[in-house]
Structures are given as structure tokens and as C-alpha cells.
């Protein structure tokens, strides 16, 4: 039995980067065959759980399988002298990963920039002499027509008509409520198998609880330990967090 902290992945590229980092792989020499299988296992789990956004992951899984197949094919006959080296089928994927890393890095720098800026506070609602007591009226508005109002509404409606590509799954059970449920169950400090937390519950309950556990793990509030055979996993509170503290953190 070994302990992992299970990150919640933003997208398929993050999952791939996670594998690369976890196994300390050379990004220019990714063992695609192995990674593809593991990636697919993850996608199957997502499908099983009916997690949202699985389509994005499926697409990359297909790309990986395609590369795997290409790498298994016998090499074409040696190229004549004037031809270039055959292109590594992984090249495009690697370039994409690296490009993504650049923006991840840029996002981190932007975040630092925002943090510095947040140290500087701008003014609240300003007051002038004579504002004492009496409320200030609202600022004047630029003219806007009823037509523009309707137009705005139509845009909302149009947006809704688009196929919901990446919407948050709506269930009767909210992830937030299930986070409270999980933390309440773990309050005594004992680890519990996930199966026990959800035994006899509806599908909606299981999914929302699973998502809640992932979120708690991401926030570092619970540990997840895989059980041998990987058929279930143990969930354990990280430290003695009371529900009150959890509320504050939420």
C-alpha cells in the first residue's frame, strides 16, 4: 500500500505532465506505450464516474494510441542520403506540451504580479464635503435603448442553446455538501474506505462524494491511499480539522 495525493487535473495535458513528473521522464523521450495505457485507464475511470470533460481526455487518449501504434510499426527502409531523419511521431505532442508549459509558467508569473498588486489598496467609495448624512445619488448613465437590453437577453438565450460542452454536472447532491459529509465522517481521525462512505447510496451520491474527496485531496484536507488491487481506496483526514475550521477555509 502506498500513499499518493491525487491531484485533480485541469485537463488531459496536465495529466500527461503529471505522469512525466511523477516518473521523472525525459520529455523528449516519453515511453508512449506505457503512458498511453495508464492514460486510458484514467479516462475509463472518468467515464465510469461520468465525470465531466471526459471528451477532452478521450481526444488526447486517441492521439497517444495513434503515436503508440506508429512507434510499433517497423521503420521504413533507410532513407536515401538526401532525406531528413524520419520525424519522431511524438514530436508534435512534445511541442504542444512544452508550449502549454510556457503558458503555465506565464500564469504563475502573472499570479505573482497580481499578488504584489493586491498589497496596494485603492479607495472605497469616495466622499465629498456635503455628503454628510444625505445619500449620494447614483452616477448618471449613458443612454441605452430597450433594443440593447433585448439584444443582451437574446445573447444569453443563444448561449444556452449551444451544446453544453463543459458545463458543471448538476446533481441533486452538491460537491460542497458532500465535502461536509466526508469531513464529518472522518472527524474521528480514522481512515475509511471510499466504498464504506458511499455504500448503498445512489449513483448521484457516489459521484458527488467522489468529486468531494478529490476536491478535499486537492486542498490538502484529506489523504487518499490506494488499497492493494486498487479496487477501493482509503480516505483519511489530514489533520484534526474540525468542521468549523473547514467552514472558515471554504
Amino acid at each position: 500500500m502506498y500513499r499518493v495525493r491525487l491531484p485533480v487535473f485541469e485537463g488531459p495535458l496536465d495529466l500527461l505532465l503529471y505522469f512525466i513528473r511523477r516518473d521523472e521522464l525525459d520529455i523528449y523521450d516519453i515511453p508512449v506505450a506505457r503512458i498511453a495505457d495508464e492514460f486510458l485507464a484514467y479516462v475509463r475511470l472518468m467515464e465510469e464516474l461520468d465525470l465531466d470533460g471526459v471528451g477532452d481526455f478521450l481526444y488526447l487518449a486517441a492521439v497517444l494510441l495513434h503515436i503508440k501504434a506508429q512507434m510499433l510499426l517497423p521503420r521504413p527502409p533507410a532513407p536515401s542520403d538526401d532525406e531528413m531523419e524520419p520525424v519522431d511521431p511524438r514530436q508534435e505532442l512534445v511541442e504542444r506540451l512544452l508550449n502549454y508549459l510556457r503558458y503555465k509558467e506565464a500564469a504563475g508569473r502573472l499570479e505573482a504580479q497580481a499578488e504584489a498588486r493586491q498589497q496596494l489598496y485603492t479607495r472605497g467609495v469616495a466622499a465629498g464635503v456635503g455628503d454628510e448624512g444625505g445619500e449620494q445619488g447614483p452616477p448618471p448613465l449613458a443612454p441605452v435603448s430597450l433594443f440593447e437590453l433585448l439584444d443582451a437577453l437574446r445573447r444569453v438565450l443563444e448561449r444556452r442553446a449551444e451544446p453544453p460542452a463543459h458545463t458543471v454536472r448538476r446533481e441533486i447532491y452538491s460537491v460542497e455538501a458532500q465535502m461536509h459529509y466526508v469531513e464529518a465522517q472522518l472527524q474521528d481521525g480514522r481512515a475509511r474506505p471510499f466504498g464504506v462512505l458511499v455504500s448503498g447510496r445512489s449513483r448521484g451520491f457516489v459521484i458527488a462524494t467522489f468529486l468531494a474527496v478529490l476536491e478535499l485531496a486537492r486542498q490538502g484536507r484529506v489523504w487518499i491511499r490506494l488499497l492493494d488491487g486498487r479496487e477501493d481506496f482509503l480516505v483519511e483526514a489530514c489533520e484534526a480539522t474540525t468542521l468549523e475550521e473547514a467552514d472558515v477555509a471554504a
Binding site: 489598496y121 485603492t122 479607495r123 472605497g124 467609495v125 469616495a126 466622499a127 465629498g128 464635503v129 456635503g130 455628503d131 454628510e132 448624512g133 445619488g137 447614483p138 452616477p139 448618471p140 448613465l141 449613458a142 443612454p143 441605452v144 435603448s145 430597450l146 440593447e148 437590453l149 433585448l150 439584444d151 443582451a152 437577453l153 437574446r154 445573447r155 444569453v156 438565450l157 448561449r159 444556452r160 458545463t167 448538476r170 441533486i172 447532491y173 452538491s174 455538501a177 458532500q178 461536509h180 459529509y181 464529518a184 447510496r201 451520491f205
Partner: protein, 211 residues
């Protein structure tokens, strides 16, 4: 314990702290509140006399160095406000018109057609959190709180104001043009279901979780 360091000749740390708090505040702060905020940050509680003294000193420095604001005592608290002689200039600033952004227009349209309506319902229709838009629209006095829903959690109900009618040249809400697509959407089973979910989900979650 780190207090604001002494910076320049005229300002003590307490003066600087009070100035900073009054600068960012959007309502008067009482001696009590100033003392408590200071205590929370630095562990010592300034007396009422120290606070009064610091405020007098600040106003003196503002006067001497030509600042265009003073600290006033209004409604039992202190507030920074501009001096009268700059008001002709400020008037021109305040007359600048605020243009409603797309976000605000969308939120306003939903409220106009669906009032009274709760924030979760607006969020659901727009697919995003409407906190900011609701706050802005209230500041602009285009919407207001009309009461609370009777449902669980008793969320606030929003509706439009007389200023809204005036601004769009409407006599009453009955003059809003009909929008068949909207009616369709609102009556769709999905929205009805969501409406019910928002009203009753908390209840069923609590029941389930406490089983």
C-alpha cells in the same frame, strides 16, 4: 510586532494607520472600530485620546501641505472627504456617464423579465456567478432587493427600480416588449427542474447526509 515604520517627518505610525484605513473605507469608522482594527493588526490598543490626537495632527498636516481632503466626524465616525473648493472640478467628473457593460445588461434583462428572482436562478440562466453584476446594478440603482424568498435559505429576491423604468423610457413593467423565446426558456422542463432543485436541494441533501 511590525508596525508601519516611521516614514517622513510628519507622520507617526498611528497617523499612517488611521489615514490608510480611512482612505480605503467606504463608510465612516468610529474610534472604537479604528482601535479594534489597529489592535488586531499590531496587538496594542490605542486610546481614544491617541486616536483623536492623530486625527487632529493629520488634518493639520493636510492643511499645511495643501491636501484637498480632510477627516470629518460624521455620524459617529471619521471619514475622509474632499474640501469644498475642488467641487466645481469634481462635478465634471461625476457628470461623466457610466456605460452599462454587456454583463450588466444581460443580468439586468433577466431580472427585468423574471422578477422577483433570486441570485441562484440568475446564475443558472447566465451560467456564471453574478455577484459582481448584482452589486454594480444596485449601486447604479437599477435593481433593488424586493424581499426574501420563502424557500429554504431564504435567498434575497431582486427586482427593478423606478430608475430602471425611467432609464429605458417605460411607463410600467407591462410595457416591456414580449419575448417569446424567453417565455419558452422559462417554461422549459429543464429550467423548471432547476428552479425546484434550487428550492429543495438543500433539504434533500441534509436529509440524505444525516441518514
Amino acid at each position: 510586532m511590525s508596525q508601519p515604520e516611521r516614514n517622513g517627518t510628519a507622520a507617526t505610525p498611528l497617523m499612517q494607520g488611521i489615514e490608510a484605513l480611512l482612505f480605503v473605507a467606504d463608510a465612516p469608522l468610529s474610534d472604537e472600530e479604528l482601535a479594534t482594527l489597529w489592535e488586531r493588526a499590531y496587538g496594542t490598543r490605542p486610546s481614544r485620546e491617541e486616536i483623536t490626537g492623530a486625527i487632529e495632527a493629520l488634518n493639520r498636516v493636510y492643511e499645511e501641505t495643501g491636501r484637498v481632503f480632510r477627516i470629518h466626524r460624521w455620524g459617529g465616525g471619521y471619514r475622509l472627504a474632499t474640501v469644498a473648493f475642488v467641487s466645481p472640478l469634481l462635478q465634471y467628473y461625476k457628470q461623466q456617464e457610466t456605460k452599462l457593460s454587456q454583463t450588466l445588461l444581460e443580468t439586468l434583462a433577466i431580472i427585468a423579465y423574471r422578477q422577483p428572482i433570486t441570485k441562484p436562478e440568475i446564475d443558472h440562466i447566465r451560467g456564471v456567478n453574478s455577484d459582481y453584476a448584482l452589486r454594480r446594478l444596485q449601486e447604479l440603482e437599477l435593481i433593488e432587493v424586493k424581499g426574501r424568498s420563502d424557500t429554504i435559505g431564504r435567498p434575497l429576491l431582486y427586482g427593478t427600480t423606478p430608475r430602471f423604468l425611467e432609464h429605458f423610457g417605460l411607463n410600467s413593467l407591462d410595457d416591456l416588449p414580449e419575448l417569446p423565446e424567453l417565455q419558452q426558456l422559462l417554461e422549459s422542463p429543464e429550467i423548471q427542474h432547476e428552479h425546484l432543485r434550487l428550492l429543495y436541494s438543500l433539504d434533500s441533501e441534509q436529509n440524505e447526509a444525516s441518514e
